[in-house]
Amino acid sequence: MRVVVAQHAPSLRERLKDAAAVACVALLLGVPMIGLTTVDQGGALHVATRWPVLAIFVTLCFIGRLLARFGLDRLQLRRRSRPAAVSALRGTGALTAWVGWSCLGVALALPVIFSDNRYVVDTATTVLIYVMLGWGLNVVVGLAGLLNLGYAAFYAVGAYAYALLSTQFGWGFWQALPVAGAFAAGFGLLLGWPTLRLRGDYLAIVTLGFGEITRVILINWTDLSNGPNGIASIPRPTFFGLPFKPDGDTPTFASFFGIEFSPLHRIIFLYYLILALAMLTNLFVSRLRKLPVGRAWEAIREDEIACQALGINVTNVKLSAFAISAMLGGCAGVFFAARQGFISPESFTFNESAIVLAIVVLGGTGSQLGVVLASLVLVLLPELGRDFADYRMLLFGAAMILIMIWRPGGILAKREPTLRYRALSRDGGGP
């Protein structure tokens, strides 16, 4: 949401009034939360008052609001005085591509550089899972413009599909991947069919409900999902049939290549696996964007009525976006299950959906590279914030607010056109 600021610079009186209003709210909230506290006096609970602390709190809120408001206004003024940068963005296409390729280069080299640091490779793997999820959700939210608050459901469907196929029927990772993906896509259709006539807020609520229902079913349908205990000992992916384990009767990855076994092999293999899956996702989605179906997704986001009048079957186009997004989420789920070796409904809470959605929105809806940057921020920040213990989530929230103030449209809000038509530039004239 964009902060609305009056065109004229607010006077000191207005600023004081605004800060006083905030201080009032702080006071209202502060009386029960700070002003009153319970103390244990020899077994009995007594209510004690802390008025000085409350006074400090309210004063801090007042001053903080004054300063924040002032800073924000300065920022807005600076932004407005900047020359209109509409056409000046010509170079960003090349820059985006350059940054994208550099990211890929770093990603490829990362396990080599940090080959002895398990923590780094593990964290990078997590980032890549979120990148893949972000790209998958981007199809529905960024391109088709349909809000989905239950994306974790598809992630869960993929993960459970792999977990069950592998533990119950002995399927391998590569066999299960397409099947689980298709299964998740089917789930996407199932959800999409009844809900796609809904728009905006209503669609968001229904998808939110669907996400929760899926999780509740996984908790309660113990025969299928083993309930809250989850599914353990899910087979890990193998390197073309060569398992990653210390010497056994069958050839292992280490023995086959004649190298010494190290638990890091699997970590690094998993890293490259998710990198490959994520890059496939990226290629797939970028490719689709240039095809009629992908273009129709974006057109529907822009104007549904115009699409209908142009003969586009809006329902089918939305369903395809839902199904493809679900499929990608499902594939990420398969990888997740294979990496963890254990899954339970705990891993697929609303929190997951919210983080993936935050990645898409912060990245700039529709931007592929934006998703990467936002995943880096949103996954690394809590990791780095571990030292801050209790303040971790506070830091997280503050960072999100700052990003939204700094770039209200997301980190990379500019949409890349899908069609560049050179044949015309000879006779068309103009740039």
Binding site: V86, P292, R295, A296, E298, A299, E302, D303, I305, A306, C307, Q308, A309, L310, G311, I312, N313, V314, R415, P417, T418, L419, R420, Y421, A423, L424, G428, G429, G430, P431
Partner: protein, 239 residues
């Protein structure tokens, strides 16, 4: 007969927006529908696409009853709409907008049609990489028309194409419509409040009032008619 409406009614909930409209468009004709604000002109255009669906009566296009069909199926039969307020895709470039217009057309025709549109509206060729939303109102209207034409429709519907445009653009657009009809035989159904221009390009015209047709005749007849002059032309022109 290209398009025929027989006793078409349409409702928005309790609002009875069309009350038994009968009209017809012959192949190769320009037909204009004029009416004041709120008369039901846009409703009539949209109900051709089933948005809202006609609650009674029949809509016959090219000999086929299309009354109950979904919007996309109707468009596929060869009707293209330039909607009220243009409704171009603001974040997509001019080229991408045109590409969306050609979504149903044979991809082999794309380049030819694109060249044709750039010849018809040279400004679109110059601005092809510009975002639709950054075009001026007149340019957006041209884009909306070009986008509709990319589908190679049999019947072109336009809902108030002159709304809010500078006189220069209005002239350009009506001139283009005349050319499309004369040189390419395009059948056109035009909805306008700007009766003066609209009646001059029209072979035939209808006047819509409170959801019913109250007057019909050739464009020339209506231009001369005292009622029309009073209500839609001299001073009485409703904005």
């Amino acid at each position: 007969m290209m398009l025929e409406l027989r006793g078409v009614h349409a409702h928005y909930g309790p609002i009875h927006a069309l009350r038994g409209v009968d009209m017809a468009v012959q192949v190769g004709e320009v037909v204009t529908l004029i009416g004041a604000n709120g008369a039901g002109k846009s409703t009539l255009m949209m109900s051709l696409f089933g948005l809202p669906r006609a609650s009674a009566g029949h809509i016959i296009f090219d000999g086929e009853d299309i009354t109950g069909l979904p919007a996309h199926a109707i468009a596929r039969r060869g009707i293209a709409l330039v909607p009220e307020g243009r409704r171009i895709y603001p974040r997509m470039t001019v080229l991408e907008n045109l590409q969306m217009g050609a979504a149903l057309a044979d991809p082999l025709n794309f380049e030819v049609d694109l060249q044709r549109m750039c010849a018809l509206f040279p400004i679109l060729g110059e601005r092809r990489h510009q975002r639709g939303g950054t075009l001026s109102g007149g340019e957006q209207q041209m884009l909306a028309i070009a986008r509709a034409l990319m589908a190679r429709p049999k019947l072109l519907l336009l809902d108030e194409p002159s709304l809010g445009l500078a006189p220069l653009y209005i002239r350009k657009i009506f001139q283009t419509l005349r050319e499309l009809n004369r040189d390419h035989g395009m059948t056109i159904l035009l909805v306008e409040q700007n009766a003066h221009h609209a009646l001059r390009v029209a072979h035939r015209a209808y006047v819509l009032q409170h959801g019913s047709i109250v007057l019909a005749g050739t464009g020339r007849e209506l231009l001369a008619s005292a009622e029309v002059r009073a209500a839609y032309l001299e001073g009485g022109q409703v904005r």
